[in-house]
Symmetry: C2
Subunit: 215 residues, 2 copies
DNA sequence: TAGATTGTTAATCGATTAACAATC
DNA sequence: TAGATTGTTAATCGATTAACAATC
């Protein structure tokens, strides 16, 4: 039904969601696009335009019910569903992400960790077993996995990505410093930390007027 | 001199830089905007427009010298300079970033780590000492620090950010799940991982045609 | 020189902002 | 009802793409 929402809009939704959660914590029950725009430092127009891509969540003369809007955006983002995930590459970053328990409460459940290092075989992180990478294909056959987190050296990432696609994975959260070449129906969300740092560095180098930037 | 380059352009520079490094590895000496556009899956027009924001790096009839263009973009990004950094919050993610040695070769030198946990006092990560957060202000007085990496719980981040600003920090690489309210001359680059995952989740939930996305 | 390919201007497309009628 | 504020259309702004003259 909702057709072709622009990526710019989608990327703003989690931020709305976060601000609305804060408002709930503060006990705020309703908010107008104008008040929210002041808090978030975006235009009220943009807020109303963004939300109306998904339907009329507000009420004229009243504004938006905070809890309702929060939950609706949660649904739009798919946070009402459970998303089984695996993580591939238990290095520093991989272990840090595996240790982070915050994803669970949004429905992102890590059910397996894979690495090439035999020393890690059989051990666990937060109760989640570390498997050998050789067992990946079997695991994908026997378990429903939606998302794979790729925290691998760039050299190994493309080959592993291909195996993931063959195994029916739906989405890859890619932390490897490489672009993956996947079929159109596989979602790839890239997090290139070093590129984020370079962007920061650019702004440092010059006499640029700064503004806060989303990565 | 270079005035007001759009953020969209800046965010593409690190990717050009990465592809050019790969071309150097492959022994490619020159490349046309057309060939590069095919590899990177962007338009040749965009490549030429982007680069010409910074000057004419190419030559008609020839294309671009790979090594030269790579190095020029490096300079634009400020990778020819050294950027002393500190990291605040030695939790899972903080430790992972501290352990990552790859930043050094781009000039990003981690010179101090701070945490509130007394158990960590005096220990080191990759030879970099962990200080108590109480010593932050003194450290900033005694050391030239450009960038602070914030890997803290959201509750503590704003207060620490304020101390950093007072201590003369130039830029904050913010991993905390909160927007920081800093003066205009302080650069903030946000990395909100949970928001990145939500974006991925959105694309999963629906029958959206996927395309690879930069976070 | 002829061919190739840039640098750059012009045209198009998309996203943001402004305005206001609808309506709670 | 009157006031407030949305939903939505129209205007503006900015970014991308196309076209082509300049030039190596």
């Amino acid at each position: 039904m909702d057709k072709d929402i622009s990526r710019a809009v989608i990327k703003r939704l989690p931020r709305y969601y976060r601000y609305l959660a804060t408002l709930i914590d503060e006990g705020v029950e309703r908010i107008s696009s104008n008040d929210l725009s002041r808090r978030m430092r975006v235009t009220a127009s943009q807020i109303r335009q963004d939300l109306n891509n998904f339907g009329g969540f507000g009420q004229q003369g009243y504004g938006y019910n905070v809890r309702f809007l929060h939950d609706e955006i949660g649904k739009i983002l798919g946070l009402d569903a459970t998303h089984p995930m695996i993580l591939i590459g238990a290095g520093n970053l991989g272990q840090a992400l595996a240790n982070y328990s915050g994803f669970d409460k949004s429905g992102f459940n890590l059910i397996g960790i894979f690495d090439a290092d035999p020393a890690l075989s059989g051990s666990m992180i937060r109760g989640i077993p570390i498997h050998m990478i050789g067992d990946l294909d079997t695991f994908l056959l026997e378990n429903k996995v939606e998302i794979a987190i790729l925290t691998l050296p760039k050299a190994e990432a493309p080959q592993v990505a291909e195996r993931l696609v063959e195994g029916g994975i739906k989405a890859i959260w890619n932390f490897a410093h490489v672009d993956l070449d996947t079929p159109d129906d596989v979602i790839v969300e890239n997090v290139h930390l070093s590129e984020s740092l370079m962007t920061l560095s650019y702004n440092l180098s010059e006499h640029h007027k700064s503004h806060q930037t989303e990565s």
